[in-house]
Symmetry: C2
Subunit: 210 residues, 2 copies
Amino acid sequence: MRSIITISREFGSGGREIGKTLADDLGIAFYDKELLELAAKESGICEELFVKHDETYTNSFLYSLVMGSYPVTPDGRLNPELPLDHRIFLAQFDTIRKLAQKGPCVIVGRCADYVLKADDRVLNFFITGNMAQKKRRILERYDIEKNKAEDFIRKTDKRRANYYNYYSDMKWGEAKNYDLCINSSKTGIKGAVELMKSYIEIKENRRDEE
Amino acid sequence: MRSIITISREFGSGGREIGKTLADDLGIAFYDKELLELAAKESGICEELFVKHDETYTNSFLYSLVMGSYPVTPDGRLNPELPLDHRIFLAQFDTIRKLAQKGPCVIVGRCADYVLKADDRVLNFFITGNMAQKKRRILERYDIEKNKAEDFIRKTDKRRANYYNYYSDMKWGEAKNYDLCINSSKTGIKGAVELMKSYIEIKENRRDEE
């Protein structure tokens, strides 16, 4: 097993739990929010700001003023003139590449599929779900009013899509960007993990043949 | 096994071969271009017209003039005043529903996932592929110049997407519309069929539990 696995996911689809279970079953590292802490540590930007700007993109007037700035200063640090959103994206970008260099792992969200696009060890998964099941799932986990759950899901997905579409050259949730997309409402968490393991096995065996 | 399986596919991804292999393995009926012949027979529109208008939609001025027309005449036949595209879509719609009533089968393309949306036996698959593999595949099968292959693929997919997006309320190729989307370039035909069989098994066992 030499694959790096990225998981993109609709909010409420169980993508995080699926990724964690898969990583545990395969005995490899797992990064979701853990990435924020690592990227914060490496970039010197405080972690609270990473949490606040996580998978969020704000097209600011300031940004248009500094478009000409270089992302990195001559001594290799992130240019402090770049808007915070972009510095945070670039710090995560850097952390994701370093993690992938270390070996097989599962990374959830944060454009990891785009960041690692050129790496032929990478397998990209996308997890979807039916609205009823997604609502049930988030109502169990978040302190939110029942009649606001659907709106909360739609807005979170919209934010994730905006972030992804802005930083990558692809469209979030389009089947053609991923190796396997699974509707977890019909398979459950365990079923989705089983399918991903089958996909990894098929792919790795074919790679051995080539 | 009580599932009805629909397969949508990028041109050149091997969707037809995958569907045929799956149907043979499961011992159930398979419909792709076969649908055109059946729909033609039932509607009384000549088959050549079905082939010509297959998965094609032309928004005509004529259509806007007849928008008020009923699709079916009082004696149950398709209204001859409807533009041909729409009569052909409606005839296929009708044939797809009749086939699904007969029992498990595999149907490729032609908005079958949308037509059968309310049927809880239905599983919707989408097959994608990398451009290099799709090009290789269609060059083996069609008499086309090498440097025109990519354009041919893009245009065929665009036509399929236009047809789907016009007649359904969904977007062709968006992961959330399907139960499972597979990039066949990494799994091969056999690998994709194996994954689909696993998905069907997981889904059918869960249904039994519920």
